[in-house]
Symmetry: C2
Subunit: 346 residues, 2 copies
């Protein structure tokens, strides 16, 4: 079979550093890939004024998957790169599932007292193409005392149902078979009603899955006080953004949090990226933990049907973490990448 | 001077139980109050179909302050009471400051490992009358595959500036003098831009206050991993809702979290309430912790200028918590109320 075609967008800041380690692991695991690097992010923006030109986007469409490091730099007006590269790709390639595991691996330090790995094993299925991320809204009388600024949350039956179905499938495949809708139905009544009705209706097709509901405010509390409550969580784009960063915090930090922007129908390439940003404050110093990117590579392998390779990478990461615990000195980005690569090849 | 006129809305579930203890403490501290109880919530709704009739609202307007227990019951369609009583009062009485301290008291157990009281001492100034809470939006083709549901976030210069000013004043009055704006400016560009510009502009009048910015997703992470980062936080209605429940979790749970819905110009009564809800699952069993309500009473006293009495109540709560730590058996709602009352009277 032909090699898998992978587009690589290292991006800004620590993005380049962590992606290099991810690719090392990908190569070591024996997957046959052809990789092409795309120079998108702050450097290109400053050089050419471009963020993501249409021809580049159309080229990217032809790949089997995309690996992204991080996008964003303080030298660019806030949000420009995030919106014109990252969000644009999510929307254009219909990444309606933003899959974010929140799993405490054995040996990882968590800021929570009294929790162990069996207490934190959550998969957040965040919707990726709707709600307040639609970007609609406007401003009137800007800069005057009469300014009004609006944002619109757009939610459709089509958009909600497909991600809810995905979440039910995911829940059905896990031992606990529990799905929690997280929203704010008591305030966002129109959108909340659509989400709640959809979960109820689709849930009838999944009699084995227990469904639950939790407001986003209560869910944020429970992530910290009772993470055991959650198995699969399905939620909208904005709530998912918040709860998955919180999830990263309780599961040992942003250095370990992986994510997949998934187009389940495969009408366009899915995109895998660490949850963390470009972290300009530590860029270029070999301080970034590439583990989140390496775990994103495992998700990528899994998505492409290479289950054994995915499992091998995950195992290598778990083993590496246990060793860390066993008293390793703090390692550089390269060293962590090398250590995990060695386990994968070995 | 005349007695202070207090409207009391015990509400639903544990609301009645905790408010009774709050009133006991209020009496014991020696403040001269005339209290009038208002029967609003699920019982009235079922009896009369009413939530908050206009004449009742106009009557409430005449009080010096309102003490509220909790509103909401599973027997009422979700959100109806919350919106038609709680949110209606916040909007009608222009409670544009929703003040929520996040403070770890000595002796309180927190789910976070390795933090001590000096690490968690935050005041969240949540905007209370705008953003997605405006309730605007709509639904089209409901129940069909072509349904679309929208929500609108409305933000005004007037609404943002007044709460930002309040937050700067608050920050200026505290030793660390730091104000962090929490928003999501990279996605909610129109509203985020208004908030960011307002903080920058008003901040020029407060050269002693350091300002900082944090996206809501990162802030949720930092509340757990580095709460020391925050002194005063100013944020919009929805983000404030989420971050203050998270704040309650890190500061020892919802049983201790107090709040004030404040109209700083005093054109209408301010309203004080515990952050927790009506908790129907434990209602009527004497299991609710009245401490959050008692601390809300302290905020009420403070708002009404009774600083000594407020300090006395706070001190009684701190002392009570230290005793709890020293091995008290688990107490009922009444017993906790009695113990704190005894300290206040003593
Ligand atoms: C960079 C930003 C636009 C993005 C988001 O909000 O989705 C990020 O926070 C994430 O979670 O991937
Ligand atoms: C009950 C609900 C409408 C309310 C809110 O969202 O403001 C509550 O969560 C709160 O924080 O006081």
């Amino acid at each position: 079979s032909r090699n898998i075609r992978l587009a690589v967008i290292p991006g800004d800041g620590i993005g380049t550093e962590v992606v290099a380690e991810g690719l090392k692991v990908l190569e070591a695991v024996g997957a046959k890939f052809d990789t092409t690097h795309y120079d998108l992010g702050a450097a290109r923006y400053h050089r050419t004024g471009e963020t993501l030109p249409d021809p580049v986007m159309e080229e990217l469409r032809g790949y089997d998957a995309i690996l992204l490091g991080a996008i964003g730099d303080p030298s660019v007006p806030p949000g420009v790169l995030e919106r014109d590269v990252l969000l644009k790709l999510r929307f254009a390639f219909d990444h309606y599932v933003n899959l974010r595991p929140v799993k405490l691996l054995p040996g990882v330090e968590t800021p929570l007292a009294d929790v162990s790995p069996e207490d934190i094993d959550i998969v957040v299925v965040r919707e990726g193409t709707e709600s307040l991320y639609a970007g609609t809204g406007g401003v009137m009388r800007r800069g005057t005392p009469h300014e009004i600024a609006t944002q619109e949350s757009l939610n459709t039956a089509h958009g909600v149902e497909r991600v809810v179905r995905y979440a039910f499938d995911k829940a059905a495949s896990r031992p606990r078979k529990k799905l929690t809708l997280v929203h704010k139905t008591n305030v966002l009544t129109f959108a909340g009603d659509l989400w709640q009705r959809t979960v109820t209706r689709v849930g009838e097709e999944y009699p084995d899955v227990t469904t639950d509901y939790c407001h986003i405010d209560a869910a944020s509390m429970f992530f910290v006080s009772q993470p055991q409550r959650f198995d699969v969580v399905v939620t909208d784009n904005l709530f998912g953004d918040i709860i998955t960063d919180l999830g990263a915090a309780i599961a040992g930090g942003i250095g370990l949090a992986a994510s997949g922007n998934i187009n389940p129908e495969r009408t366009a390439p899915s995109m895998f990226e660490p949850v963390h940003g470009s972290a300009p404050d530590i860029a270029g110093q070999g301080k970034a933990d590439p583990t989140a990117t390496i775990l994103s590579v495992a998700m990528l392998l899994d998505h492409l049907g290479m289950k054994d390779e995915a499992a091998k990478v995950e195992q290598a990461v778990s083993d590496d973490i246990i060793e860390r615990l066993a008293g390793w000195a703090s390692r550089t980005t390269h060293e962590i990448g090398d250590d995990i690569t060695a386990r994968v090849s070995g």
